[in-house]
Symmetry: D2
Subunit: 219 residues, 4 copies
């Protein structure tokens, strides 16, 4: 049985995703034929923040935390290491990879997401960052319709979408661990408010990342 | 005569502000009678990030920087210290201050702005943070029409707007120093790209802060 | 065949340990009957820094590093997690554990060692911290005579020395990985000088930790 | 009238300095004719940590602190900025400056002192760092006999010792501010224990810096 905080957190994050799905990215993807350039620009931003997710997970260790939570942190960081290479693989499999573009600055929302997550690690530590993992490891049910439309429009196979296919599998295991960690370690109202704050702030930034990618392809 | 990078930076930040002024906050403020509650909710978010601006300015010293730039950093940090109290003063002068609300979590965009600026400080250092100061110290010409409308609708005097009145004055001095520091210290394309990245990311987050305040009062 | 930098590093660390072994801790342990109180005070300091070693290893991820080095960092951090409990177990097995003392401040050298290693993590990152692991994972040949004397004087069995027995085994594996990482990732003279600096600074602090423990029991 | 914690702190730091004055640096300086090379090697280490003292003072702002304490931090950081240039000036006035040596690694104790103070800044914040300022701003009465002997042996004038002459004056003002800040802001036993810990750890490292300089010139 879910704890009442987990239910509250789930409701808030689902609500925030519902709002994102009323935005321009969803309109563009569902209402128009997806272009290869849109997929490329999306995957480049995903590449950029994914490159940092393993590192900002491990960096949480700078803040004191219970041993059980640190153990999750280390394993989770190790599980995510190098996943950004899947983004490049997927783009390369479609002849969409522009290696010169890898050095370019990201969109503002992506930069803010990367920076905010290091701040969470360094200032709040492992427990707070669970608020990000809580929804991010379970995001596939939220984005399924958009991903399916992209796959169909671009005739993609699993081989062209290794990042999303692999993550959907890995993350099944993670989401139970994350929920368990939140239930064990975020007990006080202050701790739970912090987990909620990190969850909502990171969803907000991710939603804006999608909006900013969409804006590059505004119809 | 302005350097060409300063011109590029100015154009980009003015362009980003123009986009914000086409958003819901401006529509709400200019198109409807401003309520005291809107002003209160705005000033509470301003209070929250202002409380951190002096600190994340000083914290830049953790990254190596030229002596002249560190000197600017320390004086700037000292100049901004305690300015969040003006927000509280202004709200109190209108009987709008709810002291219990001071402990509440901020809106996601405010939280992201605060966190991102600490990240800029400890990861990039003083030079990069000039990108934020560059537009923030000069923001009064951007927000003048909205502030005037708020002032008129709520019959505010200077005594109820000490935060904005005082800052407009202090910042006149700062903007020249900031421009001078950027010209002296951000020389290479990489350094200038970083200043630009921080400028655009912080404008983006500030624009979203305004949108999220507006969303609380959607008509 | 060892690379010439590994040889230089090995020579420097052996030389620094030889100097430590001419100090008061070795005189006290080898020249007098070791008291239970000396062993207790030693293990309490070991407990304190060990509690942080896993965390400051993982925290290195805040600084950019090659994927192979990050993978070592995460596994190493996971391997060391919770090892401070062995110190407590060993003291408890001898009825020497004073739980109230766990909250007390450490000796200055221990505090400096803990703080310096977080600084190395946060400022220099994973490659620099290899300088610490290089000698620490291989320290058993340096301290063997002192440990044997302690064991004999106090009639200790492996069950009373789990920390040292377990570590000697675990670290056999680590030292090859550490040497390999230094050879792969510390290539330039600047990188090698940094690894050397961290190695010598952490040996110096560890030597002082032993001197300060000895000073508590000066004959 | 001094508070009882200030008295305890003063006694501890004076006791620790008394121990340093029984060490090899004092023996070398007071018992032998001081060589220019000893003065040079001492001033180079002073140069290295002084270069960081202003920065690690300002960096404390990353940790939450009362406004009055932050104000002290910013002014103190500004007062100390650039003081390392006095060390270079003093060496140059004696033709003892080897500019190539500025890039060399410091002695282990100096490196540990620099690193530990950044750790204090970003982990403990401004209040804890007062423990360092407490004795460092008042160190001239401790080192007066050694400085006088150096001055006499090398026939130095104030012009060759600007670092020490200027600091002795500036620091007269600081020590009262530091004492006042400790009395106002370090109230609980935990806070006072932290100030004490930082005081003793930094004296220990400074004492070792002197020992390591002396070891370079062992007779």
């Amino acid at each position: 049985m879910e704890s009442s905080f987990i239910t509250t957190l789930k409701d808030a994050t689902v609500g925030d995703w519902d709002a994102i799905k009323k935005g321009n990215f969803w309109k563009l993807v569902l209402g128009h034929t997806v272009t290869p350039e849109l997929y490329r620009d999306l995957m480049m931003e995903v590449y950029h923040y994914t490159k940092h997710n393993s590192r900002n997970q491990a960096a949480c260790a700078i803040v004191d935390a219970p041993e059980g939570l640190l153990r999750f942190v280390y394993h989770h960081a190790a599980d995510e290491l190098g996943h950004e290479r899947m983004c490049l693989h997927d783009l390369e499999s479609l002849n969409l990879l522009d290696k010169g573009a890898l050095q370019k600055k990201t969109l503002p929302a992506t930069e803010a997401l990367i920076g905010y997550l290091y701040y969470v690690s360094f200032k709040y530590g492992a427990m707070a960052r669970l608020g990000y993992s809580f929804w991010a490891e379970d995001v596939y049910e939220q984005i399924d319709d958009a991903l399916s439309k992209i796959r169909r429009d671009l005739s993609l196979t699993d081989r062209n979408m290794t990042f999303f296919v692999a993550h959907a599998k890995i993350d099944e295991k993670h989401i139970d661990q994350v929920t368990d960690c939140i239930e064990r370690f975020a007990k006080t109202p202050e701790e739970q408010a912090l987990v909620m704050q990190v969850a909502r702030t990171t969803i907000f930034l991710t939603g804006q990342l999608l909006e900013q990618v969409a804006a590059l392809h505004a119809k």
